[in-house]
């Protein structure tokens, strides 16, 4: 007797049609419910990462449910810590005004020094000669963007401890404020004449504050993210039912190949997820430590480190965020407290660049080979195209999930082909 097929040609055709219809329906649902993709994916991936921890707790006689709740409590505490940290570094209303004043001043001073500008701001060195047509309007735009509204002017002046009429040199921020006003007055006509947009240009002082986040948008975000902890809980509660359900849908002749493919997927995705999680954590920690060493205050260093670690999920973005955050602080800071004696306010930007460069070097030379050594490797071109393509199709969700999805797809295709060939099915 020779092996026979599981079903007739008509049955196979019916199954194929049903499978194709199912795939189309799944694609339609994914597209319509794409706002749920990020919370579902993030909670699923977190559950996947945490699964070994729950199993380890269970092995040590802790009931599975209790272990899951313990993990959830740890996550909530971590979220509260991060929220508290973010709130502590978020400036108050007056602090935000002061930050704007300082940022405009530092930007204009840096531009003035780089271009060798005189008091009229119309004559400078050779660099200015080459680039003024391009850069002057941009700097003017940033000035306008950061300029205080009429109401903010009043608030800022009222907040000064020595009053709005304090003499020069007694209140540094007030000095900055006066210089900013003078710079805007001087720069405005020149910049507008270069852009040729005199009539279209609004006045130098901003009139309207930034629009607040609409309540409806906030409600939408909350309503979609509320499912995240539920998915996290249910996936961790699963003790094999999902895998069993998946395997239950395959025919008997595909059962053993499907077992092998699922094992390959589990291994590849597990290695990748745990590896990337560890790498992001290590990068965040390194950025935090190095920035603190070069003089960035600890709470800012921690915030930049967390942000850099979180965004490192998207390749190359973590270090870019660390650099942007560190440089922003270095350019705005009036005072720093570095652990290295050679760092001062004049050269802190260079040290920040060096610190982020060192963190990137450590990531590439040590962390990646150490924690991602056995994981699936993707070509950088695939990574870039995948991230950009994912962003175009699914916005932030696409950017965040492009790499895990490409990894799963690559392993699925290669493992399926290998197993089907081994079982003589292709």
């Amino acid at each position: 007797m020779t092996p026979r097929n599981d079903c007739s040609p008509a049955g196979t055709l019916f199954k194929s049609v049903v499978a194709a219809a199912g795939a189309l329906l799944a694609a339609y649902l994914i597209w319509k419910l794409r706002s749920l993709i990020v919370p579902v994916a993030v909670s699923s991936l977190m559950a996947y990462i945490c699964r070994p921890l729950v199993l380890r707790l269970e092995r040590h006689r802790m009931p599975r449910g209790l272990g899951i709740w313990l993990l959830l409590v740890v996550f909530v505490l971590a979220a509260l810590f991060i929220a508290n940290l973010v709130r502590s570094i978020m400036p108050t209303e007056i602090g935000a005004l002061e930050l704007k004043v300082r940022a405009v001043y530092k930007l204009n001073e840096g531009y003035k020094n780089l271009m060798g500008l005189d008091q009229s701001r119309t004559r400078g060195n050779w660099i200015y000669g080459l680039s003024q047509g391009e850069l002057d309007p941009k700097v003017y735009q940033i000035n306008r963007l950061l300029a205080l509204t009429q109401e903010e002017h009043t608030q800022f002046l009222a907040s000064r401890p020595r009053g709005p009429e304090a003499p020069a040199g007694s209140d540094r921020l007030l000095d900055y404020y006066r210089v900013n006003l003078q710079t805007l007055r001087v720069r405005e006509p020149a910049a507008l004449s270069q852009t040729g947009a005199v009539r279209a240009a609004p006045p130098a002082v901003a009139q309207t504050p930034m629009p607040a986040l609409p309540i409806a948008t906030l409600g939408h975000i909350l309503s979609t993210w509320i499912i995240a902890p539920l998915i996290f809980l249910f996936l961790l509660r699963d003790t094999g039912e999902i895998k069993g359900g998946l395997l239950g849908t395959v025919s008997n002749r595909l059962f053993e190949p499907a077992l092998a493919v699922l094992a390959d997927l589990d291994s590849a995705l597990g290695d990748y997820m745990r590896g990337i999680f560890l790498e992001c954590s290590l990068l965040g920690l390194t950025v935090t430590l190095l920035l603190a060493i070069v003089g960035v205050p600890p709470r800012w260093a921690i915030a930049i480190g967390i942000l850099a670690g979180a965004t490192n999920v998207i390749p190359y973005l973590g270090s870019a965020v660390a650099l942007a955050g560190g440089l922003a602080y270095a350019l705005l800071a009036d005072e720093i407290n570095p652990l290295l004696p050679m760092v001062n306010t004049e050269n802190v930007a260079i040290w920040v660049i060096a610190a982020v460069g060192l963190a990137e070097l450590l990531k590439n030379v040590f962390y990646e080979p150490l924690v991602l050594g056995g994981a699936v490797k993707l070509h950088p071109l695939v990574v870039v195209i995948g991230v950009v393509g994912g962003g175009i199709l699914f916005d932030l969700a696409g950017v965040l999930l492009a790499i895990p999805m490409i990894t799963v797809f690559k392993v699925f295709v290669s493992s399926t082909a290998r197993q089907l060939k081994a079982y003589g099915l292709i």
């Binding site: 092996p3 395997l247 008997n252």
Partner: protein, 205 residues
Amino acid sequence: MKKKFHIDGVKEILLKWHKHADLLDTPDPARVLYGPPPETAAGERGRDLVDFFRQVPLFEDLSQGDLRRLARILHKRTYRDGEYIFEEGKPGMAMYIVRGGIVEIVRRKRNGEEMPLVTLEPPATLEELAVVGADVVHWTSARARGPVSLVAIGRPDLDALGRNFPLLANKILKKLAYIIAMRLQMVLEAEYFNEERSPNNDPPQ
């Protein structure tokens, strides 16, 4: 053609160790290599998986909690009459426990004809090697004779069990090693007894 199993030798060995030695008069004696016959086996007949596992020699050392955990990760499969469970020469990724029905083990001869080796009934286990070793290839085929229901244990399932619950996995692996070793011993000794009793080996008078 030389017979695959020499029953007399097998009987003697089984009498020494097998707790189901009273079953040796079965019409299909090779079955005792895999498990007791249906009269003593727990079929499906309304019992749940954990109750069934209690009847499986492979799991006889496991506690109720262990059996419940196993029941959650193992895969129930059903086969139609004549359907192949696995085929000779294909990679092995899972071992099976017969839960209901009759499974026929066959091996293909060089001329392509299939030679039946043994029929298995609940709660026999088969293809244990597939979950123990890597790159295992099925050396026989298994086919359903009538409707059959099985419980499958994948190699990845046992690997995961080893990572997450090493004590449980260790109990199963020890039992597997014991079963495999006893089968090897039985076959070897059957061959040995057979040679000793063979007229060709008798000393000349």
